[in-house]
Subunit: 204 residues, 2 copies
DNA sequence: TAGATTGTTAATCGATTAACAATC
DNA sequence: TAGATTGTTAATCGATTAACAATC
């Protein structure tokens, strides 16, 4: 199993490569890419090596398109990935409008909220009562979910998702969810992210 | 300089301790806290040791209140921390309404946007034109900023913030910002967070 | 007291960095 | 060819885990 940092760096490389491509470049050296991604050239080559990306040519660098293809294979970008979103509060709404997902072939196919006033099919993404999770998950074969409900309801939502065979959850609620270890959870606690930033800024 | 992971775990411990406290507990053992935070008891004790938190009593565990006080000292929670927010799009708006910051004594004291239709003082947080950054930063002695503008404008905003002596930036724009190394940047790329979740979920 | 738990020291593990042969 | 760059192997560094003495 590859480590988190590895994967995260690959995703940053992809970001950088897309930028280079947009700027009209066709090849990069590990040195360029490292500069842009804030890592050493050796780290870049090591990461590629670990994922068996061996498309560089000594002295001639890497073709950007080839690298992007390899990364698309690793991240299975051949088709859309359906995800569901639970909670249409501040964060939920922002995520449902977020443009960045589409470019990554991530599609929020349905949202859920307990508040009937937020349930509508006239919105860009249909918003259902949470009772419908089971139906929608089966219909669209969803394996990934986003939790953006208040802290108090997060564990209950989590349990319901797992009961419906959701395998991975990104959690914006500031609580450490309990889950069986075969369910992968990515916690994003916005206040903690701010705290950590503040800590490192003030303790340089 | 303490490592990122260390600090992040301390913040998770705090989250857990607050939960325990709300549930009426007064003491914890490293074992309980580890369980809740998903780390080993040894890791908990090691982290405490590193930050010179030595308030446990053998066999009697740690007083939750004492631990929270120590953590508040480490994270300087004696007074509010003013931050500014640039970009009042989807994400910016969500952040400006986010309840979780107040509990952490993080205060968004002003927001900025280039779109005149978004500039208003009648909103909960005043929204100014970006030209006013300099004035507000000086007036409130702000050192920390949030970037939530589209990718295309992010580097320009970043440069302007740094020119105004901002020391730490949390960046929600999907781009690797260039900055002098004395400015700490915390990048949160929502699409990459989703990608990483999807990767680990599908490659278990 | 005996057993449990802390705080720290030592051992292990894994990630990053350095070095370098291969070669374009 | 000479110099530059890759891909990999070896060395280092640091984080995590294990062990254990101290002691409540």
């Amino acid at each position: 199993m590859y480590l988190k940092n590895n994967i995260r760096r690959l995703l940053v490389y992809r970001q950088c490569l897309i930028k280079f491509k947009e700027l009209g470049f066709e090849i990069v050296y590990s040195y360029n890419l490292g500069c842009e991604a804030n890592v050493s050239p050796e780290q870049v080559r090591k990461d590629f090596s670990k994922f068996e990306i061996k498309e560089g040519r000594r002295k001639a660098g890497y073709k950007i398109d080839h690298l992007l293809e390899s990364l698309d294979t690793i991240f299975k970008k051949d088709k859309d990935q359906n995800v569901i979103l639970v909670g249409m509060g501040n964060i939920g709404k922002a995520l449902s409008n977020y443009k960045g997902f589409a470019q990554h072939k991530i599609v929020i196919c349905a949202a859920f909220d307990i508040d009937p006033s937020k349930q509508t099919k006239s919105y860009k993404i249909p918003v259902y009562p949470v009772e419908n999770i089971s139906m929608i998950v089966k219909r669209h074969n969803v394996k990934i979910a986003i939790i953006a409900v208040p802290k108090s309801g997060a564990q209950e939502v989590c349990d319901r998702l797992i009961a419906n065979d959701i395998q991975g959850i990104i959690n914006f609620s500031p609580i450490n969810l309990k889950s069986p270890k075969n369910v992968y959870i990515n916690n994003i606690d916005l206040a903690n992210e701010m705290e950590s930033l503040i800590y490192f800024t003030l303790n340089k």
